[in-house]
């Protein structure tokens, strides 16, 4: 199988990740509860993951809250900043993991910046929206549908200037592009463990620039005599038993990225995406590509997009079709009615994958 659905999850993990998960299952008890060797080995495994994340993302280990996925992380962040009915600014390319919590909170959402690959539009609209006052801003680093890389550093600077707390959704950028909590001065940055960070499903990270409100209350192995959730990180946002085998794998994924270098990962993925976009355009497909694009290419096949994906699957090509849990992004790009077929490259991207994909695409 040629796997091009890394936007959903990375499928081919580094071998060390499988070993780390297996080892944790065999050796790790519950961290932060007991004091016997396998409990301490579990604690060491978890802390090792926090340390690796802290080093990569520019923060302290205790600022690394471990979650079950990026959606979980985003919910913690959004529900800390937004309580109900307040004005929130988002970009035109957000995932349902951002828009659905805001909808549930009945937030007054302003969508700013709807033109694909257009930084001028994004920054002009975003600033205009912030100037009118907002309780919070939430924006993605890279669109999961189109690979559109947003100008997050500039957007973060605008948020700081207008004193609007903000959350960055790094679901598609963590492990591929620089993401630095301190440099961005973000309130929160959310990411999955199972995409670019190459960990197992069931893992995620919330980088906390400020204290979050607990989304779930329960046992933390600390301040046990108090009924309030602890007032310190990471415990305040980590109730219940952690997914230790998953975190073991995530830690190994992070260490792999440190060894390989995320710049190298980016270059591989970017090169494959550009080549793929060019080839699809040459074949006559409507392709969504532009200057600020990372690792993901969406295009319109000449047939129903789900049928196209099915035909590609029969030829051993794994892609995702439809709305990609991001109807807002499709609405912005004008593809809400058709959906698109999306090829998203991963850390193992190469020219052979692109060639195989394009050969298969020619048939549809």
């Amino acid at each position: 199988m040629i796997y091009l659905d890394n936007g959903a999850t990375s499928f081919h993990k580094p071998p060390g990740v499988y070993r780390a998960v297996s080892r944790a299952l065999q050796r790790c008890a519950n961290p932060g509860r007991g004091g016997y060797p396998s409990a301490m080995e579990a604690a060491e495994t978890v802390f090792g993951c926090r340390e690796a994340a802290a080093e990569l993302f520019g923060c302290q280990p205790e600022q690394v809250v471990l979650t079950s996925n990026c959606t979980h992380a985003l919910n913690i962040a959004i529900r800390t900043l937004v309580k109900g009915g307040e004005r929130v600014v988002i970009s035109g390319f957000e995932h349902n993991a951002v828009t659905r919590p805001l909808y549930a909170l009945k937030a007054n959402v302003t969508v700013a910046g709807r033109k694909l690959f257009d930084w001028d539009n994004m920054l002009t609209e975003f600033e205009k929206a912030l100037r009118s006052g907002a309780k919070a801003a939430v924006f993605t680093h890279v669109s999961n549908v189109f690979g559109y890389l947003l100008p997050v550093e500039e957007m973060a600077a605008l948020c700081r200037y207008y004193r609007v707390p903000f959350v960055i959704d790094a679901a598609q950028s963590a492990g591929v592009l620089p993401v630095h909590l301190e440099r961005l001065s973000a309130d929160f940055i959310a990411m999955p463990g199972h995409k670019g960070l190459l960990g197992p499903q069931g893992t995620g990270i919330l980088l906390c620039g400020r204290e979050p409100d607990p989304l779930i209350c329960g046992g933390t192995g600390s301040a046990s005599d108090q009924q309030e959730m602890p007032g310190f990180l990471p415990d305040r946002a980590e109730a219940g038993t952690l997914n230790v085998p998953g975190i073991a794998g995530l830690g190994e994924g992070l260490r792999y990225l440190r060894r390989v270098g995320i710049k190298n990962v980016f270059q591989r993925e970017h090169k494959a995406a550009i080549l793929c976009a060019q080839e699809l355009e040459r074949m006559g497909f409507r392709v969504f590509s532009g200057e600020h694009q990372v690792a993901t290419v969406s295009f319109l096949p000449n047939i129903d997009c789900e049928e196209a994906a099915q035909k590609l699957a029969k030829q051993g090509i794994a892609v995702r079709a439809g709305l990609h849990c991001a109807p807002l992004a499709h609405e912005s790009a004008g593809t809400l009615n058709t959906g698109t077929v999306r090829a998203s490259f991963g850390h193992d991207a190469d020219v052979q994958q692109v060639e195989a994909f394009c050969r298969a695409a020619a048939i549809i």
Binding site: G35, A43, F47, D235
Partner: protein
């Protein structure tokens, strides 16, 4: 005193302290804080040998690793809170 115990509010902070001290060549290990010292809390502590105490204290304070109460443990296993 034979040993000293630095208490921490969670295992994460104890681990942060442990990492720091071990990097500096100060031997220590994480253990559960004795119940008699915790006043119903559950916590972890770093156990340090007496001759490393002052250096460990200075390093933890300089690096701003947050710790709670500090106890000395004598050879009979009795604890005494240290004013730091």
């Amino acid at each position: 005193m034979k040993n000293y115990l630095f208490t921490f509010r969670s295992v994460t902070y104890a681990q942060k302290g442990e990492r720091l001290l071990k990097r500096l060549g100060i031997d220590c290990f994480i253990r559960r804080t004795p119940r008699t010292l915790t006043n119903k809390e559950c916590s972890y502590c770093l156990q340090i040998r007496s001759w490393d105490f002052q250096r460990a204290l200075a390093q933890l304070q300089t690096a701003q690793v947050q710790f709670g109460k500090v106890y000395g443990m004598d050879y009979d296993g009795e604890f005494e809170e240290m004013k730091v």
